[in-house]
């Protein structure tokens, strides 16, 4: 009964209240927000309260050869937190302190369990902002979003999580604790480990402390809603705005299928007689905002669209909240929402939109498309019912075709949701065998025993079997 012994050791190291073993409780850690992936119950869930606790968990896991599955809020969309091989789920929810806000250096240092929105609420009184803004900003943890390198609604102008992570504390698979990066604006000491761990999806180390860059909150902003009768007009508007050298903070699209369900949930008067809506926000210095908003309006009109401006903060919040609700709102239509994240260079956005329409027709599937149009990052969401096997076969074929099209347009498999277990087998399509091999070498160097989130990103176990 080595599991019993491991549990005893875990209880001793973390205190019994941080070791969860009730079968019903464990079942609640067998899934995340990903559709159409297997679920698996872990053997135990631990809720460490400190880096020292995390080190203890790693040591015990190594001793008893149990895998560790790091978990924040479990909102990722690539099966990243599912404990495929049982073992230990390490939930960071109790490591949720904001350790420091440093207005002189424009940084904040947090534990991984801090919710993104809570950080933003804490820095707002300083006139500061942490820009990464995934749709789950009110639920996702800093640790989870760093591990996924999340993007979100402000990617176009402000970039994604990796552009804000300056320093990390990481517990390695060996149980050692390292720190990389820090508060300095410049740092070329050694390889860029901060970037390596950002987006590593819990496969290379457990992040226990994060120092992020903050920016001064914009003085002014203008938020607009534009409607189009043709999908191509919406796509061309996106491309043209950027060609005209206006970089909005937010440039989001929702197609008609999406708009209908979102309006049904939010009741904020979104028009449903459109092929697509664009949600556009420009921000910055008031004069610039005014000029940019004018330019945007001009481009919309030129592309046969109409435009409305949010009159106040409440109206703005409503629009953003409605957009954030897009994915779960689509579940009103059908229970299984297979969302993709393929991303293309932004000049190809119209081509991608039209290709998605075609794929939907070809496979006789209902697809709701929304996403970060300005980033070339669309989220075509196939609405299906997992109980319908024939439909699910068509879904999987359509997904493959979506990837093929995206890659042929010079794009990528995943813009922001990560590889996890959902997209692992497609990696060679984009990276080639040699590229995937580099990932393997990195994984082996940092986690030779394959205990950190095994079965995700690159599968070392498969290799072992093949030997």
């Amino acid at each position: 009964m080595s599991l019993e012994k491991a549990l005893t050791d875990l209880r001793r190291a973390l205190g019994p209240h941080n070791v969860i073993t009730d079968p019903a409780d464990l079942l609640c850690y067998s899934y995340d927000a990903t559709a159409d992936v297997p679920t698996q119950r872990p053997d135990v869930v631990v809720t460490p309260e400190s880096t020292a606790h995390v080190v203890q968990v790693v040591k015990i896991a190594r001793q008893y050869r149990l895998p560790i599955y790091p978990r924040g809020s479990g909102t990722n969309l690539s099966g990243g937190t599912i404990p495929l091989r049982g073992g230990i789920v390490l939930a960071t929810v109790k490591m949720n302190r904001i350790l420091e806000i440093d207005p002189a250096n424009l940084t904040a240092t947090v534990q991984p369990g801090v919710i993104i929105q809570d950080l933003n609420n804490a820095v707002a009184p300083y006139g500061l902002l942490y820009p990464p803004d995934p749709g789950t900003v009110a639920t996702a943890t800093m640790g989870g979003s760093v591990a996924e390198c999340s993007g979100g609604l402000r990617g176009l102008k402000y970039g994604v999580t990796r552009h804000y992570v300056m320093g990390l504390e990481v517990v390695l698979a060996s149980g050692e604790v390292i720190r990389c990066g820090g508060k300095t604006v410049k740092n070329v000491t050694g390889y860029d480990l901060v970037r390596l761990f950002t987006g590593s999806e819990g496969t290379l180390g457990i992040i226990t402390e994060i120092t992020v860059r903050l920016i001064p909150a914009p003085q002014a902003r203008e938020t607009m809603l534009a409607g189009f009768a043709r999908l191509a007009d919406a796509g061309n508007t996106v491309t043209e705005i950027i060609q005209r050298k206006v970089i909005p903070a937010t440039l989001e699209i929702m197609d008609r299928v999406t708009v209908e369900v979102v309006e049904n949930y939010a009741h904020i008067g979104l028009p449903t007689d459109v092929a697509a809506l664009l949600l556009i926000e420009v921000d910055g210095i008031p004069e610039v905002v005014k000029y940019e908003a004018e330019t945007v309006r001009e481009i919309i009109k030129k592309n046969n669209g109409w435009v409305k401006t949010a009159e106040n903060e409440a109206a703005r919040e409503n629009l953003l909240a409605a957009r954030r609700a897009a994915l779960p709102a689509l579940a009103q239509r059908k229970p299984t929402t297979i969302l993709e994240d393929a991303t293309v260079p932004r000049s190809k956005i119209t081509e991608m939109l039209l290709a998605l329409e075609e794929i939907g027709k070809k496979y006789d599937l209902l697809i709701g498309t929304f996403g970060h149009a300005g980033d070339g990052n669309l989220h075509p969401t196939i609405l299906a019912d997992a109980r319908d096997e024939d439909e699910m076969r068509r879904v999987r074929a359509a997904v493959e075709e979506i990837f093929r099209v995206a890659l042929s347009l010079g794009g990528t498999l995943s813009g922001e949701h990560g590889i996890g277990m959902a997209k692992m087998r497609f990696l060679p399509w984009e990276m080639g065998a040699s590229g995937v091999n580099v990932l393997r070498q990195i994984k082996k160097a940092l986690d030779p025993e394959n205990i950190l989130n095994p079965g995700k990103m690159v599968d070392l176990a498969q290799e072992e079997e093949q030997k």
Binding site: I20, D22, P23, A24, D25, L27, C28, Y29, S30, Y31, D32, A33, A35, T47, S73, G74, T75, A91, V93, K94, N96, G113, I115, Q117, T136, A138, T139, V261, V262, N264, Y265, A266, A325, A326, L327, P328, A329, A331, Q332, P335, T336, T337
Partner: protein, 423 residues
């Protein structure tokens, strides 16, 4: 969907949850515990396993489903439109049917179905309560020894004369604007009878004729929320009989939870009971919360005296999210001359009472209340108005323990005061 069809009836509802986790941002219990089984997504997953037979009924599982305030906050933010509360109640009912209710709850609910016995029992208790409780102030007391209640908890005494003891059956007025029946509800009847008298006062001051059926009893909410659906149906049936034949314009409730029983649950409980479906829907349609009724009347503002009062408002979950009564109480309060209304930052956040939840999970309930108390302190108001006696009890407990000066009152008490009712 009938509430009695068990897990089968909520299967589609369960499948609708796509596990986005948005409920984490809304759930007051998750905010405290941050554990997945505490949040809707986790419980829906468990309900799915229970419905599919992969999980067996067990006390530990029942405990997971007990860990829900039924505050509807998750349902309100669920973009997929999952009716979380239906799933929770179905699971509680399924588990109660297999495991039975814990003895204490069973005894209490059985008593509630026997109104006469229950009344007699409570009356005896009202006389003897001094033996068990230490009085702090006229309307507050603490347990003298553990009674299954937390020792620090401040509870109101039972009134020596309940509202229904004192109230007459009919209050005719000249040229009535409307005729209504008043439903007291247990907490208002036995603990806060002043609320009933206040409502009567305001209704009469506005030329509304009131009838108060003597045989009325518990609305059945404790049974509904604890999975004793059979008992709940009996109570629903009896109230349809009692209130259905009065020919009144409205049936007035003074508690969001009672209101939801009448307006939302009775039709579903009685859907399949021959001869009752239509009557239950009719009763549901007539059921109106006191604040909404007065707001729509509209009130005769001529007789209102000025009250020099700063007031804030706590929105009860079942009244606000449940019945959609949101603006009415606030409008009524701000309409009283001299009254300054300051909103809470988060008026709709659950106070943590949730009926028997505050008995079974007192510490957690009090932690949740803590956020509300902080919010109240921030407003500088003298009085916290609310529309639910259970919230009032919870707020009073916290305000007293934290030595805060504010008093919690039902909206209609404040309104009655402005009509000259002595508090």
């Amino acid at each position: 969907m009938s509430l009695l069809n068990g897990m089968a009836a909520v299967k589609e509802e369960i499948i609708k949850c796509m596990k986005c986790g948005n409920c984490q941002a809304a759930c007051p219990i998750y905010k405290e515990l941050r554990l997945e089984p505490a949040v809707a997504r986790g419980k829906i997953h468990l309900a799915g396993m229970l419905a599919g037979g992969e999980l067996k009924a067990a006390p530990a599982l029942a405990e997971r489903f007990a860990l829900c305030l039924t505050c509807l906050a998750c349902t309100a933010v669920c973009p997929s439109g999952v009716k979380v509360c239906d799933i929770i109640l179905a699971a509680r009912a399924a588990l109660a049917a297999e495991l039975g209710l814990p003895f204490a709850k069973r005894a209490a609910f059985a008593a509630l179905t026997q109104p006469k016995l229950f009344r007699a029992g409570l009356k005896t208790f009202a006389r003897l309560q001094g033996l068990a409780f230490r009085r702090l102030a006229p309307f507050k007391m603490k347990p003298r020894f553990p009674l299954g209640l937390e020792m620090r908890r401040v509870v109101p005494p039972l009134a020596t004369a309940s509202f229904l003891d004192r109230a007459k059956e009919k209050y005719p007025v000249e040229k009535p604007l409307a005729r209504v029946a008043l439903f007291a509800g247990c907490l208002n009847n036995y603990v806060y009878p002043r609320v009933g008298h206040a409502a009567l006062h305001v209704l009469q001051a506005n030329r509304v004729e009131v009838v108060i059926p003597r045989e009325q009893h518990c609305c059945g909410a404790p049974s509904i929320y604890n999975g004793a659906t059979g008992m709940a149906r009996e109570m629903a049936r009896s109230h349809v009989d009692i209130f259905g034949s009065l020919g009144v314009d409205a049936v007035i409730t003074m508690c969001g939870t009672c209101g939801e029983s009448f307006a939302h649950f009775y039709p579903r409980l009685l859907e399949d009971v021959p001869g009752y479906g239509k009557k239950a829907r009719e009763l549901a349609r007539k059921t109106t919360d006191i604040a909404r009724f007065l707001y729509r009347l509209p009130l005769d503002k001529g007789n209102l005296r000025s009250l020099d009062l700063s007031v804030t408002y706590h929105q009860p979950c079942h009244l606000g999210r449940g019945l959609g009564v949101v603006k009415e109480p606030v409008e009524l309060l701000s309409g009283i001359p001299g009254t300054r209304y300051t909103p809470l930052k988060d008026p709709a956040r659950c106070c943590g009472n949730a009926g028997s939840f505050s008995l079974s999970h007192y510490h957690l309930s009090y932690r949740i209340l803590g956020h509300k108390l902080k919010d109240i302190a921030g407003t500088g108001a003298q009085v916290v108005a609310t529309g639910c006696p259970a919230c009032k009890m919870q707020l009073t407990d916290g305000l007293t323990q934290e030595n805060m000066s504010q008093e919690a009152m039902h909206t209609v008490e404040i309104l009655a005061h402005a009509y000259g009712f002595a508090l």
